[in-house]
């Protein structure tokens, strides 16, 4: 799949969970087709275009709809660069390099899978759920957040599959972390997970315990996103590898997490 540098135009922006997240809906600015074959797990390197930010910011694909030509990004305001991206308006342009990185693996149709997302880590789980559903596997989502107001895109997830929720304050679903949810105790053909590192490590432990296979999507800081700068490395059983090209999705058996 050829990587491209493309100007997108924002056709819709919604702020979520207060002002801490933005859901951007984009189309290719010159009206041409989306690059073909973009899949869940991949990401774009986004030029924030603002004062004081030089490097692009990696943002994972939240949803891609080839029928409408829309690409969705769910962006957390986590610093100067992502702040500027969340503050863009309808009509603004956004330059991106994409598609980057690998994808989640597909299970056999009808497999039992759990898609676990925490915080902005829910982003790739939506597209993954859509893909799995289209391939005959029913996605079950387990979404964790601090509080009910921090849960993102619940409507979209509910439209795609069954949704379990945990909140730290108990304001919705099971009180606690995602690993406190009973769904975590079952055995799955695959547990997919994206979220803060401590959460992913804890989900990985839980998956091991229940004998489930598990893939996680890492968020290491990166400069190029192309495997050139060697900055985003993760220690694996094969040594240091670039998260941007060998990842961001890794089977936990490849990682050196305990």
């Amino acid at each position: 799949m050829k990587k491209q540098i493309i100007d997108f135009r924002i056709i819709d922006r919604k702020m979520l969970a207060g002002d801490r997240y933005a859901l951007l809906k984009l189309v290719v600015a010159d009206g041409s087709q989306l690059p073909e074959g973009i899949r869940a797990g991949q990401f774009a390197q986004v030029d924030a275009g603002c004062k004081g930010v030089m490097l692009r910011r990696p943002i994972s694909i939240n949803k891609i709809d080839y029928a409408t030509g829309e690409l969705w990004l769910l962006v957390r305001d986590a610093g100067r660069g992502t702040h500027a991206i969340t503050r863009l308006s309808e009509g603004d342009m956004l330059n991106m390099v994409l598609p980057l990185g690998n994808t989640f693996s597909y299970p056999a149709a009808g497999s039992k899978v759990l898609l676990v997302g925490g915080g902005v880590g829910v982003a790739p789980m939506l597209q993954l759920g859509i893909e799995l559903k289209a391939m005959g596997t029913d996605p079950v989502f387990l979404l964790g957040a601090r509080s009910q107001t921090d849960l993102l895109e619940l409507d979209e997830f509910s439209r795609t599959g069954k949704v379990h929720v945990t909140t730290e304050d108990g304001s919705m679903g099971v009180r606690g972390f995602v690993t406190d949810h009973p769904a975590m105790n079952e055995r799955y053909d695959m547990v997919y997970c994206c979220g803060p590192a401590p959460m992913m490590k804890s989900v990985a432990r839980s998956a091991r315990k229940s004998g489930s296979a598990c893939e996680v999507s890492l968020e290491n800081m990166m400069a190029c996103g192309l495997g050139a700068c060697l900055c985003c490395v993760e220690k694996t059983v094969k040594g240091n590898v670039c998260v941007c090209t060998e990842g961001p999705v890794f089977n936990i058996d490849q990682l050196t997490w305990n």
């Binding site: 050829k2 990587k3 491209q4 540098i5 030029d47 004081g52 930010v53 030089m54 490097l55 692009r56 390099v97 290491n220 800081m221 990166m222 400069a223 190029c224 996103g225 192309l226 495997g227 050139a228 700068c229 060697l230 900055c231 985003c232 490395v233 993760e234 220690k235 040594g239 240091n240």
Partner: protein, 303 residues
């Protein structure tokens, strides 16, 4: 008007235009093949290669700073034999001068890597990295004294028959003295600047941003220092100078050429715009047409 952008750096290193890529920012070139036609580059410098494989430093290795970035990769690479066996056959097809950046922990190390590269006709030159700030042994130590620079240059000169570029550290009181030391030992050219040694602290977490505490600063932030050093060195040595440090476009490249550089390398900017190198060639071409320049040499060292 016909425009001649080609430059001859001596001992067989001829470039169709002055634009090369900086080691460690362009992988093996292949990583950028989706974005640009590599045949349009003057040359490309593949990443730092050592005698034995190296895992590099721990994560985190990178921090963004104002108009720049710190890195502490620490020469992660699979070693020269892997390069010769697995990489070289794939990348020699590009119609652009291939240069291999070489590092080592001792002059013998450097020489041995170069000796193994010598039979590969596709390797037009080696760039000898005597200035990597991110490895404990060797690296920058050789680049901060005339004796160190001379020792490595001498060893490499004896081991490699084609063009030898010596890459200089800016972390010195007198970069011209180091350049003269390399020239005296037979360097065919010098390239500068490597990264400035820098550091950043995450004050909220009260810890260094890099696992190694200090790292190498690159990007537009350092360009004024790089232009100054290129200007100083070009006035002092007789061999060609290759300029780098914060180049993001043709205009920036021309600063270095006017300061005395025969060729230039684009580094960090590849991370931001993967097509920047070819754009820079186009921008230099435009500039020459606008200013009635028929040979890039007319602009070299005019300051």
């Amino acid at each position: 008007m016909e425009l001649n952008l080609s430059v001859d750096l001596g001992r067989g290193l001829k470039l169709k235009n002055p634009v090369m890529t900086a080691s460690g920012t362009f992988g093996y070139g292949e990583e950028f093949a989706d974005f640009i036609n590599l045949d349009k580059l003057g040359g490309y410098i593949v990443k730092g290669t050592t005698l034995n494989p190296r895992e590099g430093n721990d994560y985190p290795r990178m921090a963004e700073t104002p108009s720049g970035m710190l890195n502490a990769v620490g020469l992660q690479n699979k070693g020269v034999d892997y390069f010769i066996r697995e990489i070289y056959p794939r990348i020699q097809r590009f119609d652009s001068a291939m240069v291999v950046n070489v590092s080592g922990a001792s002059p013998d190390d450097y020489a041995e890597v170069c000796r193994r590269l010598a039979p590969l006709d596709g390797v037009a030159a080696v760039e000898v990295n005597i200035s990597c700030p991110n490895v404990k042994q060797g690296g920058m130590a050789f680049g901060t004294t005339c004796e160190g620079a001379a020792a490595v240059t001498r060893a490499v000169r004896a081991a490699f028959p084609r063009h030898v570029i010596v890459k200089l550290s800016p972390n010195v009181t007198s970069v011209t003295d180091i350049a003269l030391a390399a020239e005296a030992e037979g360097a065919d050219s010098v390239s500068l600047i490597n990264t400035l040694m820098g550091m950043a602290i995450d004050v909220e977490r009260r810890r260094p941003c890099l696992s190694t505490i200090t790292g190498g600063l690159s990007g537009p932030a350092v360009r004024p220092v790089a232009v100054r050093m290129v200007w100083q060195v070009a006035k002092a040595v007789k061999i060609p100078v290759i300029g780098l440090g914060g180049i993001t476009c043709g205009r920036d490249a021309l600063e270095f050429i006017m300061a005395g550089a025969t060729a230039i390398e684009i580094g960090t900017a590849n991370f931001i715009d993967p097509a920047v190198t070819v754009k820079a060639v186009e921008e230099i071409t435009d500039y020459c047409h606008r200013h009635g320049i028929s040979d890039i040499a007319e602009l070299r060292g005019i300051i």
